[in-house]
Subunit: 336 residues, 2 copies
Amino acid sequence: MSKVNIKQLAKELNLSISTVSRALRDSYEISADTKKKVFALAKQLNYQPNPNASGLRGQKTKTIAVVIPEMVNDFFSLVIGGIEKVAQEQGYYLLFYFTHGDYDLEVSFINTLANGRVDGVLLSMSRENHDNSHLLELNKNGIPLVLFDRVSENLDNVKVTSDNYDSAITATRHLIDAGCKKIAYLQVHKNISIGKIRMNGYLEALRPKGQTPLMVECSNENEETFEIIEKMLLNEKPDGIFASVEKLAVICYRVCEKINLRIPRDIKIISFSNLQTASLLNPSLTTITQPAFDIGETAAKELLDIIHKKSKSASRDKHVILKSLFIKRKSTSALY
Amino acid sequence: MSKVNIKQLAKELNLSISTVSRALRDSYEISADTKKKVFALAKQLNYQPNPNASGLRGQKTKTIAVVIPEMVNDFFSLVIGGIEKVAQEQGYYLLFYFTHGDYDLEVSFINTLANGRVDGVLLSMSRENHDNSHLLELNKNGIPLVLFDRVSENLDNVKVTSDNYDSAITATRHLIDAGCKKIAYLQVHKNISIGKIRMNGYLEALRPKGQTPLMVECSNENEETFEIIEKMLLNEKPDGIFASVEKLAVICYRVCEKINLRIPRDIKIISFSNLQTASLLNPSLTTITQPAFDIGETAAKELLDIIHKKSKSASRDKHVILKSLFIKRKSTSALY
């Protein structure tokens, strides 16, 4: 491994050690020209910072923590793809943590980050509008935090989401236009603000039509959710389903197969989904497809801008809303 | 944040600082009883180690690097789930790196790990049987390395894979038994040993039947692969396809839709796949399903055993082979 250190880089370039150090941290205090020279020589000589020593001297760890509820999910896989693209371009490491939607795990992990293990945190919350003191503590410690997808309006940090409210209205109106008279709305965590926002879109679209809402609270466990949906379909007999989360749509397909409900003849289904096989399902699934990769990319860029002080603290209370796609397929077809 | 340090823990427990320190590192030199007491008090007082200081003193970073080719893939998502379970149980952080199958990126990332940023590395190789000096260097630096899924027999490290050869034989024989006379084998990287092993299984199963092999080399780019498969189906007219990688099966479905080939009537398809929607596709996809979660869990446990010195260096040249499942569905049905 290389033994080149900052001192040697500084000598070679005829610059002060502090200038080289700040250039390597991509500080705004150093000119683009100087940074270019420093980066070029560092690369040429295969300079490797000592991450531990750097941390102690209050320098950067070049590491970002990514805290998400789950990973076995096409939405978060794509989000990570976007985050990773930016991280790789800018030479950052990614430390991952999966909360499984467990608030206590989130708090405990965030607390371990407060001692400077990372330069910043990207978080999709396990539970919003709850006690946010662990996040306020992070802010107080000067560790930049950007929220994405599952965010809280109560926090004064940059937020990146998709247009959940508008998309939910589009989805519900589409079912109404396809002839549905009784539309069930399936959700997992009604306490999560993203769930509430989508539900409000659903309610808003139903109101002028005088349709009675049918809200179904599912579980974190797939088998339990299967039973909840089966019972609901048999008892309530809706003719439309709006699944607010991808995995609920997949479970609906399995239930319909079991109880011989034909999609879209007997029941139409639309879902928020980034499922890569949506078009190959039997029948193909109509989706609201979030710009998952862009959400990850945008959140990572916002975070790195704050870390590199390109972003002023005044611009921190900023909510970037990206547009989702509505993709009509056979599961909501009026003709069959 | 807590201000408790090792000194206070030692005083409270009436133990030496070095004993507490080693207990916290889960050293084999300390009895299970003592460790239990130390962990209990550390938890009670919310003790947080300073990761940077620890690193400098040659202690553990409690971080594992996970280096994989890609992530937008149901196989690696499940593997990560298994790794994460073990990491969370044992209090380890996960640093992720995605190589996109690019050998140079792998080398460059592994080189940055040699300076002690992590306690160990889990790697699914971007290219095997190539120059492995970056991995030998890691071994020389005493940083434990465990290989999984895409491994190299030339390296003297613990390896965890599934039974690729046997599964490929099973898959090919199944197509033969379903009546296929001309079976195409689709692969992405013929230079990757896992690809070769699967191909050898395919060839071995064909041999006694006197069928001529039809090996098709696809691309890393989905659009290019679509064209390669389309041209192959139109020119070669196989009646069976064995996709060695999940994404190739999905592309096959799209091509068949475009050129009006009916699955399984005109062509039967089987694939190595952990696709969660395999049973919901039109038609449902017959798969060889790898124990992806178990592969991740086993690899992580093997690595932590080496880190914690529970595993002797003599047992390092060990290859754990886990069994895949063969799941018959409609895409290879002889009756339609």
